[in-house]
C-alpha cells in the first residue's frame, strides 16, 4: 500500500490534471466578472481568456489577448510537466519538470489577483472610479469635456468558481512539491 502511495506523486497528478481542467474551464467561465448597470457592459477576465461585452458587441483587446496566450501556454506546459513528473517522480528528469511546473499555477493566480488590484487602484487614483473587486458599488464616472452631467453606474463584480478552482490547482501543485520529499527522498 505504501509502495503504491509513493510510486506516484498523487498531489502532482491531481495538481497537473486540475491545471489542465482550469485551462479548459477558463475559456468559457471567467475567473472574475464585472457587470456595469443591468448587463449593459460585462468584463470577463481570466489569465487565459479576457473579453469585454458592450451593447451586444463582444471584443477583446489585442494586448490582453497576447497576455492570455502566454498565460494559456504557461499553464498548459505546467500541467503537462506536472503530470509527466507525477507518474515518474524518481527519474532523473523529474525534478526539473517539478521545479518547472509547480510554481506556475500559483504565480499565474497571484499575477492575476495583483493585476486586478493594480487596475482598481489606478482607476481610483486617475479617474476616481470606485471599482469593486467583489460586491456592488455605485461609481461616478467622469465625462470628459462635459460639465453639468453626473453619470453614476452600478458596478457589480465577483470572483467566479473557476477562480477558486485555479486556487485549488495552485495549492495541489505546492503540495506536490512538499510531497516530493516522500516519493523521491534526497540521496
Amino acid at each position: 500500500m505504501n509502495a503504491i502511495l509513493t510510486k506516484f506523486n498523487w498531489f502532482g497528478l491531481a495538481g497537473g490534471a486540475t491545471t489542465l481542467v482550469v485551462i479548459a474551464v477558463s475559456l468559457f467561465y471567467p475567473w472574475w466578472q464585472l457587470t456595469v448597470g443591468d448587463d449593459l457592459m460585462k468584463i470577463n477576465a481570466s489569465p487565459v481568456n479576457t473579453n469585454f461585452g458592450f451593447l451586444d458587441t463582444s471584443f477583446t483587446i489585442p494586448f490582453i489577448w497576447v497576455l492570455n496566450i502566454i498565460g494559456l501556454l504557461t499553464l498548459l506546459l505546467s500541467g503537462v510537466a506536472m503530470i509527466i513528473y507525477s507518474v515518474m517522480p524518481t527519474k532523473s528528469f523529474s525534478k526539473p519538470l517539478l521545479d518547472f511546473g509547480y510554481k506556475k499555477p500559483l504565480f499565474t493566480f497571484l499575477f492575476f489577483v495583483i493585476g486586478l488590484v493594480i487596475v482598481t487602484i489606478i482607476l481610483q487614483a486617475v479617474l476616481n472610479i470606485n471599482l469593486p473587486l467583489m460586491g456592488s458599488a455605485t461609481s461616478t464616472v467622469p465625462i470628459p469635456f462635459v460639465s453639468g452631467i453626473t453619470l453614476s453606474v452600478l458596478l457589480s463584480a465577483g470572483f467566479q468558481w473557476s477562480f477558486w478552482l485555479a486556487a485549488v490547482a495552485a495549492g495541489l501543485c505546492i503540495a506536490a512539491r512538499l510531497y516530493h520529499r516522500k516519493v523521491a527522498p534526497a540521496p
Binding site: 443591468d38 451593447l55 477583446t60 489585442p62 528528469f93 452631467i149
Partner: protein, 188 residues
Amino acid sequence: MDKVRLLLTLITIAIVVVPIVGMLLAYQNNLLGLFIPPELNEIAEDLTGGGEGTNGSGLEPPTMVGEPEYNPATRTYSATFQFKNSFPVDLTIKSLSGNIECYEHGFTLGNASLSKPVSIAAGETGTLTVLGTWTEEAISHFKTAHAGEEFVDVVLVDFAVDISGIQLQLDQSQMEQKMQVPNPAYEG
C-alpha cells in the same frame, strides 16, 4: 538533468517572447490598435450617431404626444412622451424625476416622475408617461404671474434618469431647453 532544465528555460522564454514579438510585428504599423480594437470605434459610432447601421442613429430626445392632462382636484398632471431607443441594445428606463421651474421667474412649480418603468427593445419606440403635481404655491403663481396665459414656459431642473442601472443627473446648465405646459389656472 541540466539539459532538461535548459530546455524548460528555453521553452519558458519562448512562450513569453514569441507571442509578444508576433504581436508587435502584426501591429507594427498601428501600435494604438494593440490597446484600442476596431470594435471600440464601432461602439463609439453607435453611441454618437456616426454609425451606418440602422441602430446607430444616436440619442434622440423624447417627443411629447398629445396634450398633458390635468386634474384640478388633485393638482396632478400627466404627459405622454415617445422615446426611440436608438441604441443596439434593449433598455429599461427604471426611473425619471425632476423639478419643474417657471422659466420666466425661476419659481419652483412642482415635480415630475415616471409613472412606471418602461422597457424598450433596441431600435424600437416606447411610450413614457410622466406624472407630476403642482404645488399650492405653484397654482397661486400661475394665477398671479401668468394670468391670461394659456401656456407657460417651464424648465426641468434636477433631472435624473436611471436607464438600465446607469444613472444620469443633469444640472440646470444642461437643461436649458424650455417646454410649454398648459396653465392650470387659465380660465379662457
